[in-house]
Point group: C2
Chain length 139, copies 2
Amino acid sequence: MSDLLERLRGRGWRMTAQRRVVAEVLDGDHVHLTADEVHARAVVRLPEISRATVYNTLGEMVSLGEVIEVSTDRRAKRYDPNAHRPHHHLVCASCGTIRDVHPAGDPMADLPSDERFGFTVSDVEVTYRGICPGCAATG
Amino acid sequence: MSDLLERLRGRGWRMTAQRRVVAEVLDGDHVHLTADEVHARAVVRLPEISRATVYNTLGEMVSLGEVIEVSTDRRAKRYDPNAHRPHHHLVCASCGTIRDVHPAGDPMADLPSDERFGFTVSDVEVTYRGICPGCAATG
DNA sequence: TCCTACAATGGACTAAGTCCAAGTCAAGTG
DNA sequence: CACTTGACTTGGACTTAGTCCATTGTAGGA
């Protein structure tokens, strides 16, 4: 049923009703939700779940590398369960929706070492910005 | 003296002591400052300047396209006065410092139209993440 | 010099998230 | 199965970064 849940269980995660619900909510939908959206959906199944627990659980899934945190602006962070397939993001500047995209090319290879300033570079993130069809239509 | 100031004046910007100070602070230093850092430096020269004014002024410079807003996480946004030379960013995951980098390649060209989902794509942002030499040294 | 529209102020307010002490419970042990 | 214990959850207080607004000030044109 839930791949994410299986992977987490396999890492010795202590399974609680709250964690199960959070994992299922995240994995079930392929939009990238904010913590509050995850909480809102989790509450439907488990009315007494707290915001703090949702934040904790999402944070742990991020540390375990099972989920990616995407913050494209100062609005809420969004959580992307698709951590195992490399991809980048296309963000609507108006409503904040995020879509996964798979551009050609490897941007990591485009950064020569004399442009690294002694940093240990571990990750690249490419964010395309634009206006989604929905927002373009409604002005 | 200040290129940024000249450009803004040329756009019919009403010049006030506050705006001058904000523009000079931003342009004077080639680190990318947060709004609060800009405010702290502005206060040294003009003690009664308010935080609200700093936010307003930075916001206007961003709308005019003279300054770029960079938000790499949920910490404070940073402001990049180098808006006229295309470049990307290298961010320290530990302390948040940002350096400008100039990778080879054009990531915009790497996004085929069948991966655009009807979006009008106007901008790409590439963010390299890693650990800066300073943070690597101090653990 | 005077006017007035644009700008600055500061304090209240908000959104998103973090922290913590106290209570609860999953799952290993006997 | 009952116990135990350390990990998990809770909710409320707190923080950070930023926005909003009514009031006051002032740049720059007539």
